[in-house]
Structures are given as structure tokens and as C-alpha cells.
Symmetry: C2
Subunit: 421 residues, 2 copies
């Protein structure tokens, strides 16, 4: 089993050494002297759990910048047109590019909803990251698609048994308005039977929410609840347009909610995310970046900053979403949702951590490290990322990043050419 | 005269060379072959005008992180208490730290409102940056202070003649509710007589705005207009709580308005900045970071991203604040306000520019450089900053930064100790 020893790193303001063996943190203390395959110098560094990005579409990373400053209708048309040109190389290198960017910005783990997840699994495996890849139902009521997607889901589930242990299989219901009732129920049942994570978009836009109420007479949350979807294994992305009853349902069921603040802002979907109310009701609140087609990057630290600033502003309360809760939303809450014993820097936890380099103007004064990290620095302060006990980045360098940049650039150019035609 | 030649850099998507001599850009074209003291390799780089930060309190950089997640009243108490401990070393090294951070994030020029501007001038001079330092009136109606501040303003103005040409002198009226009418009028008159920039906080919070209306029966903007303050030489920071009449007055007078979005959000002052309306009325809209006591960093690129996201969200219009307007707000609009022939990359313009390194995942696809720069990258992509024809940063390194970090850290620790007592 490989081992890592980190010497003299700050953890919650105290200097310590951290010893990692295999996939977990084995010891944290002063003056650990033991052999290790890798010894890292933690001076001027602080350790934090690595981030968990709870909602993205990593294969869409090559959509970055192709439809800027557009009204939503034109944006959707542009994205859907672009999706018709996708092929396996684009998914593979788009996902590799996503993984490289996530590692560079301190994320070890992500929950993904996209197509060709066998290709994505190969890309994630090659990157060294941890991920929950979900097979995505989107049938638009088409009966043939309903059948083929069920078959495909079962086939992918079987295939997922060959994936490395750090890559998990889950099921996505794209949204309450894009999947037939029959398949929503089938997916929920399949997830229940196999103890899988379920993933869905929920009440992202006002229009979609109002259309649902008109058609069904209840909110999307109430209808999904009546279909038995809510619960600790459900990840509900966006969840922007909720009423008090929805918040109660999500809270009582212990559902995980993902706040995709930058995407919500950029696409003008909404900004009054009910953080306090969801937290108080008992929901598990996490954060995500969404895909690069909507919010351009996969940077969770930046996402956390925007999330907190926005809560403070629209609530007119500068004490809203304080730093410890903010960091929990970006780390341990996501780990819990995915059934992982991680998201914390503690003995026995998964060795999914980052080292933050504090040797820059952004960390002076050294009075409040968390505030400096979230509100002052940019994500280039993240020096080292360890996932599953393996160093994925050190000194800001990721092994093999040149190849990823070269290949992603090449395929991105090909993709952009096709779109322009 | 020193000279710089930048070879093979992207400017608006076209490869070119840029020749700088003395303080200005002399030639832009293909294949410029000429001797230069410094030759920079522009491959994988894009050139942009350097940022202009139109509102900050640079001496407050050592206040970073000392009062987080606090309600406004506690925040003000903490800041005012901290200010009683300020001394010249803290101002000098706080300002040097501010300058270092601004250079690192692509800013060449800033407008400043703080105390001991002779000390600040020394710090800015030593940093190589360009700045508008304003003498700040804040008398709270105290008659003795009114007199001494007028004397001090005249003394500083005389002293400013010894400053380097890139450091300019202006006058600040702290705010319409903190300065006596007599001194508001005196400051405006002094600025008019000597052709100086005037600077003020305007309608930052709802409470301050409503209190003004109750006391005077008109808005702060209307009252300042009646006192003859509005005009192209006035910089009005925040300007969040404006009615239609205020917007018309600011527009017709060509006043410069500064949007300090991160500070507005973090202190929960407001978020509905009237960008479209101010622009359409004829105001000169710029951006600022405010001081690090309120918004923690001095990063204009990040500020621009937040500003655009927020406009899109609260207007429910994803096409709001498009990229070209956004970049103008961060560059040329600020230069114009300060009377500078800069903020553009053109022959004859001041050589205040930055080179952006695009060799990272954030710039793939290479389809929309501006979107990648603002929405995808973080500010560590800024590789080179040139101010007044002098290279202040190259390869992400600023000459003498170690000394600034060491000294700022030392004085910051001393400051934090005092505050804690």
C-alpha cells in the first residue's frame, strides 16, 4: 500500500503531520516519524478536505464560451445543436479536461450527469479522481426511448462493476418535465433495489415550475415526493423555486439539495436560494458548478464565495451563510450524500484532501485563514490535491496535464468548427 | 527612454507585435523588428488593457479578515476600533501590500480614498503603479476639524507637486452624511479651481439614503447636484439606492459611477445596481473593489465576473452586461474618468497593459477569449503587467515581492495583536 507523510502543515490553525496509508488518513499529530513513499513539505500550507462538486455535466466542458450573453431560448438552441455533434472523443477529452480543471481548483470528487458514461468512466479513471457517474433518463415521453433507456441503464449498471472502486454508478432522472412518469418510477425503483444514488434537476426555472403547477396542480417537489423519490439518496440540483411545503418535504426526507449559484445567475434562473430554510428543515445542502456550457468553470472555491455573497445580499444580512457552514457545503455534506467517509481531515477518513499555499498577498493578515481562502484568494492558491490516498497535483502541477491540454485543444477546435458550420 | 517589444501576442484574436517606448505604446503591427531594452515572448498570451480600480481604500488592506460574517453595526464598530491603531508603518505596508495584490491581478491604476496620503504616495511610488490619491474630508460637523482639514488639504496639494507624474492628487468628500455642508462646498470649489478629481461615497445603504431624504426632503444625489458637485470630474462610489431623477442627474452631468459589487454584496448593502439605466442616461460606469475590510480582495477581474452575473440574475436577462461593456467598465471608462489616455491597447495610448497566459484548462476551447478570461479563469492567468511603460510583473513575479510579504506580514501581526487586546 502506498503511503504519504505531510510534515508541518496547518490544520485548524495548529501545526501537525498527517500520515496517509492506502486510501485513508491513518494518523494526525505532532512529530510523526515513519517511512512513507512520498513526503510532502507542509510549511506555509494549510490542509482542508478536498471539494465535492455535487452537480456538473463534465462532458460539456468543451461547450465553454460557445454561447455567451444569450437569452435562454437562444442558449438552449445553441447547446442542443452543439450536442448533436458529440462523439466519444469529445466526451472523453471533455471529461479529462473537466477533471484536470477540477483537480487544479481543489476538487477530488464530483457527481456527474451526462451521456456515454462508460467513456466518462474511462476518463475519470485515467484522471485519478473520485466520481459518481449517473446514467441519465431523458425520454420526452417517447415509448421506444423509454424501453431502450431502461435496457441501457441496466447494461451500464452491469458494466459499472468493472470500474475502479472510486468510480460509483448512479441513476439520473433528467427532470420532472423531460422524463415519462413510467421511467421516473422505474428509475426510482431501480435505485432503491440496488442502493444507488438518484440525481435530478428540480425547479431550476420559474417558467418550468409554473408550467408544472398548471399541468399537475402541485409543485414538482410535491409530485416527486408522491412518487417516492425524495430521501437521503436523492440529489436535487438547483431547487430554486420552492414554496414552504417543498422545503418541508425536502427537509423531512433528508434530501440532498445542490446550489449551483453561478449557473443560476448566469442563465438568469434566479438568485433567492433558500439556504437557511432548507438547512433548518433538515435538507443536506451542497454546492455544484453545473456544466461549463452554463457557468463556464468548475471552480468550487469561487462558487462558495459567490453563494455566500449572494445569501448575504438578498437576505440583507451580512452574517448569513457563515464560513464554517459554507465550507461544509463544499466538502463534507457532499461526501455524506455520496455515502463517502470523507470531506473531513480526520483519522480514519478517506484521504481526499488539499494543501493551500498561503505564501501570497491574499493571506495577509494571517488572522482568518478560512476568510482569506474563500473571500480573498483565487484558486491558484491550491497547491496539492490528494484523492483516495494518491497525489493528483503537487506544486500546482498535475501529472500528464500537457497531454490533456493538447488533446482537449485539438478536439475542442474540431468541435467549434462543426458548430460554426 | 526605456523600451519594450512584445512579440507574437494575440490582440482581439490577431497575432501582432507591440512596441512601447517611454510611457506609451508606439507601434502595433506584424513583424516589428527594432531594438528594445526588454523583449517579451507573447506566444500563448493575449494582451488587454490593464484594469483600473476606481474605488478602494488601499491602506485598509491589513483589515482583511478581521471582521467576518458580522452584522453591519458590529462590522463598523470593529473597523472604527481598528482604525484607532493605525500608524504610518501600517499605512505604508498596507498600501504596498494592496499594490502588490493589484499588480498580481492585472490592475495598473487605482483611485484611492484613505488617510496619510503622503505615506500612501511613497508606497505607490515604490510599487510602480499609477494612482489617484485623494485627500479625504470627514469632519462630522466639527468646526475645528473643518478648518484643520482645509489646511491639511491645501498642504497635501502643495506636497503632491513633488510626487511622480503617475501619482495624481484629488479630493474626497467622504460622504454626504459625514462632511459639513461648508466643507463639501469648499472641497468642490477647490477641485474646480485646480482641475482636480472629486470623489465621494453616494447612496451606499438604504438606511443612509432614507435618513437623508427625511432630513433634507431630497435624495443625496439631488442635494449634491444642487451644491454643484456632479460632473465628469466626480467619482461617485456605490450609488446603489437611486431613483429615476438621480439617474437622470448623474447621466446628464456625465458623472462617473463606481460599482463595488463584492462589497455591496458582502455587507448586504444591496444588489440592484442600475447598470443599464445609468449607462443609457450617459453616466460613465466603472468598477471598484472597495477596501479589503469590506470585500477582502482587490481583484477587478473577479469583480467584473460577479457584476455581470448579478446583473443577469436580478434583471432576469442573461444578455445583460455583455462582455465588451464589462471590460470597458474595468478599463477605459476608469481611465477616462481620471483623465488618462489609457485603458486601451492602441498606438499612442499609455502603456498600461497586461498579458494573459492562455496555456491552461480554463482557456479551452479557445473560441471566446473574453468569456474564458472573465467567466472561466482565475486571476492567476495574468502573467505580465506593464504600467507607464515599465514591466511591474513578468511570469507572475513582481520585483521585490518577498520584501513586501515579509514586512506586511510582520506589521499585520502587530496590528491584529493590538485589535485583539
Amino acid at each position: 500500500m502506498r503511503s504519504i507523510l505531510i510534515k508541518n502543515v496547518l490544520r485548524d490553525g495548529e501545526l501537525c503531520d498527517i500520515y496517509i496509508k492506502g486510501e485513508t488518513i491513518r494518523r494526525i499529530g505532532r512529530d510523526i516519524f515513519t517511512d512513507a513513499d512520498t513526503v510532502l513539505d507542509g510549511r506555509r500550507m494549510a490542509v482542508l478536505p478536498a471539494f465535492v462538486n455535487m452537480h456538473t455535466h463534465s462532458g460539456m466542458t468543451l461547450f465553454r464560451g460557445i454561447c455567451e450573453d444569450m437569452p435562454l431560448k437562444s442558449w438552449l438552441d445553441a447547446v442542443w445543436k452543439a450536442e448533436t455533434f458529440l462523439d466519444e472523443d469529445l466526451i472523453y477529452w471533455g471529461t479529462r479536461l473537466a477533471c484536470l480543471e477540477m483537480i487544479k481548483t481543489g476538487t477530488s470528487t464530483f457527481e456527474d450527469m451526462y451521456w456515454n458514461i462508460d467513456v466518462a468512466a474511462k476518463a475519470v479513471s485515467d484522471s485519478g479522481m473520485r466520481a459518481m457517474l449517473t446514467y441519465c433518463f431523458l425520454d420526452g415521453g417517447d415509448e421506444r426511448k423509454q424501453r431502450t433507456q431502461r435496457d441501457e441503464c441496466m447494461r451500464m449498471y452491469e458494466l459499472s462493476r468493472t470500474w475502479p472502486g472510486r468510480i460509483m454508478f448512479g441513476v439520473s432522472v433528467h427532470a420532472h418535465y423531460t422524463v415519462s412518469d413510467a421511467n421516473i418510477l422505474w428509475a426510482a425503483d431501480f435505485a432503491r433495489k440496488h442502493s444507488l444514488v438518484l440525481n435530478t434537476h428540480l425547479s431550476e426555472t420559474r417558467q418550468e415550475n409554473e408550467a408544472h403547477r398548471e399541468r399537475y396542480g402541485v409543485s414538482p417537489t410535491a409530485r416527486l415526493a408522491s412518487m417516492g423519490l425524495l430521501g437521503p439518496n436523492l440529489t436535487a440540483a438547483h431547487a430554486l423555486w420552492l414554496d414552504d411545503g417543498d422545503i418541508r418535504l425536502l427537509g423531512q426526507s433528508g434530501t440532498t439539495v445542490v446550489h449551483n449559484v453561478n449557473s443560476n445567475l448566469k442563465l438568469a434562473s434566479g438568485y433567492r436560494f433558500m439556504y437557511n430554510e432548507l438547512r433548518d428543515a433538515g435538507a443536506n445542502v451542497t454546492v455544484g458548478t453545473d456544466g461549463c456550457g452554463s457557468s463556464n468553470n468548475l471552480d468550487i472555491r469561487e462558487t462558495l464565495k459567490t453563494a455566500a455573497l449572494l445569501q448575504k445580499a438578498w437576505r440583507e444580512d451580512p452574517s448569513a451563510m457563515p464560513l464554517d457552514e459554507l465550507l461544509a457545503a463544499g466538502t463534507v455534506n457532499g461526501a455524506r450524500a455520496l455515502g463517502l467517509a470523507g470531506g473531513v481531515v480526520e483519522e480514519g477518513a478517506l484521504a481526499d484532501i488539499m494543501l493551500v499555499n498561503t505564501d501570497s498577498p491574499f493571506f495577509i493578515p494571517e488572522h482568518d485563514f478560512k476568510a482569506n481562502f474563500i473571500y480573498s484568494a483565487n484558486s491558484s492558491c491550491i497547491d496539492t490535491v490528494i484523492c483516495n490516498g494518491k497525489v493528483l497535483m503537487s506544486g500546482g502541477r498535475v501529472d500528464g496535464e500537457e497531454e490533456v491540454l493538447t488533446m482537449a485543444r485539438k478536439h475542442a477546435a474540431r468541435f467549434v468548427e462543426k458548430i460554426k458550420q
